[in-house]
């Protein structure tokens, strides 16, 4: 992929990546910064970029990774999050069906579980789509989602720091 392609990538995929960052981060300014940073990372690794057919998946992964780290950094340095309610064992299924609640606790999970959990439970990607965005096998996604689901209650009960 040539240097000239970066400008065309930015024009073609910028709107979609911005929309994605806006969805994850919740405000225009953060989304704009995240989009810029995503394409700066694309620029630094342009020689590793896949062909145009996989470009969306690749840039999507970079953007999601950046945004999830940003969400985590906000949590570590900023005002306390809303309290996560106490959950009993019977309510774990309810938790996994509650997108808003999951979005609040997913960054408390270990790093390797954070992206698959967010993509699947919050973003609504199915397992194949998660595998594709992350560049891993579907089996790996299944294992990580199972581990997240099994420990969701524990993650919810972790303190914010």
């Amino acid at each position: 992929m040539s240097a000239r392609d970066l400008t065309s990538l930015y024009r073609s995929y910028g709107p979609v990546i911005y929309s994605r960052c806006r969805r994850l981060l919740g405000d225009d300014a953060s989304a704009e910064d995240a989009t810029q940073e995503t394409f700066m990372r694309v620029q630094r690794h342009l020689e590793k970029a896949p062909d145009s057919r996989e470009a969306l998946v690749w840039i999507y992964r970079i953007a999601t990774n950046y945004c999830l780290n940003e969400i985590r950094n906000r949590r570590l340095r900023a005002t306390p999050m809303k309290e996560v309610p106490e959950l009993s064992g019977e309510q774990t299924e309810e938790l996994l069906a509650n997108r808003d609640l999951l979005a609040r606790i997913v960054d408390r999970a270990p790093e390797k579980l954070r992206m698959p959990a967010y993509l699947h439970y919050v973003d609504g990607l199915d397992q194949s789509e998660v595998a594709r965005v992350m560049g891993v096998s579907r089996r790996t996604v299944l294992y990580r989602l199972a581990e997240f689901a099994k420990n969701a209650r524990k993650f919810a009960q972790r303190t914010s720091r």
Binding site: R4, Y10, S12, S19, D126
Partner: protein, 280 residues
């Protein structure tokens, strides 16, 4: 649609916005959106964000990624000897009339987008880029302005003033839902051209028997645009009906500038010379 989900994922919606889904997949998604309030709301929110980026963020920030290179260039030359005198006159009319209009502070050029000039661009030629058209019917030539009534068999030629933009993509949509890339014909992305005032684009289109409005969009940019995203937007526009085609002057595509024209295709009586004349 997700294999194990009742809703459409944001990834699938984004892929559809990029024109990366097959027509069957896109149709499935659209059918779901029309029946699912949650996904429809997600889609609307994502569309608004994309529009905001294309309109307000991209013009400010694109230069950061721009590299100066030696592009491949091919030149579109006006070949006056191949133009019939009436078409040559139409070319003059097309580009003289707008320059007269420019002297008026509030005049709106027919078919020209009313947005303010693109910010952050170093235009080498002043003025906004423009798409114009002329139609040949037998031995007559008509300047096509918005709402012009044309007939099957009319031969439509396109002219652009690129105003410093290096890339051009022209595509159209009609009321039957046919979305076509006219320049580069059937191409997968914008073509690089050498901007010169009043360029006539090679070739022409001959109108078919379908009726109703057809709108032709020109997308001007400093980098190539993929056709897939444009075609997806055009099909979405067609799905909203003929009124939308007549009214939608620009699309939410990340081009630096757009210009469009629409005309009404009608089948009318045949005159004594056997030429079809559109009904009123």
């Amino acid at each position: 649609m997700s294999e194990d989900r009742a809703h459409v994922s944001s990834f699938t919606l984004d892929a559809m916005a990029l024109g990366a889904l097959s027509s069957e997949e896109a149709e499935q998604v659209r059918a779901h959106l029309s029946n699912c309030a949650r996904c429809a709301a997600d889609f609307e929110e994502a569309t608004a964000a994309r529009d905001h980026f294309a309109r307000d963020v991209l013009p400010r920030t694109a230069r950061r990624f721009r590299r100066i290179e030696e592009p491949r260039r091919f030149s579109l030359r006006i070949l006056p000897m191949l133009l019939a005198p009436s078409l040559a006159a139409a070319v003059v009319a097309i580009f003289v009339l707008p320059s007269l209009y420019r002297r008026q502070d509030s005049a709106q050029l027919p078919g020209q987008d009313s947005r303010p000039p693109i910010l952050g661009q170093d235009l080498r030629i002043k003025g906004e880029p423009i798409l114009r058209a002329a139609a040949r019917r037998g031995d007559r030539t008509l300047v096509v302005q918005d709402g012009a009534v044309l007939a099957p068999g009319d031969e439509v030629h396109f002219f652009v003033q690129a105003s410093g933009f290096e890339y051009l993509l022209i595509a159209s949509v009609d009321a039957d839902g046919n979305a076509t890339v006219y320049f580069p014909y059937g191409g997968a992305q914008s073509a690089l051209l050498q901007p010169t005032e009043g360029e006539q684009l090679p070739g022409s289109i001959v109108l078919d028997e379908s009726r109703g409005p057809e709108r032709v969009y020109a997308f001007f940019s400093h980098g190539p645009l993929p056709s897939a995203a444009v075609l997806a937007e055009l099909r979405g526009l067609a799905a909203r009906g003929p009124t939308a085609i007549r009214a939608q002057r620009t699309l939410s595509i990340s081009a630096d500038a757009q210009s469009s024209i629409w005309f009404e295709k009608r089948v009318g009586r045949r005159d004594a010379g056997g030429q079809s004349r559109p009904g009123e």
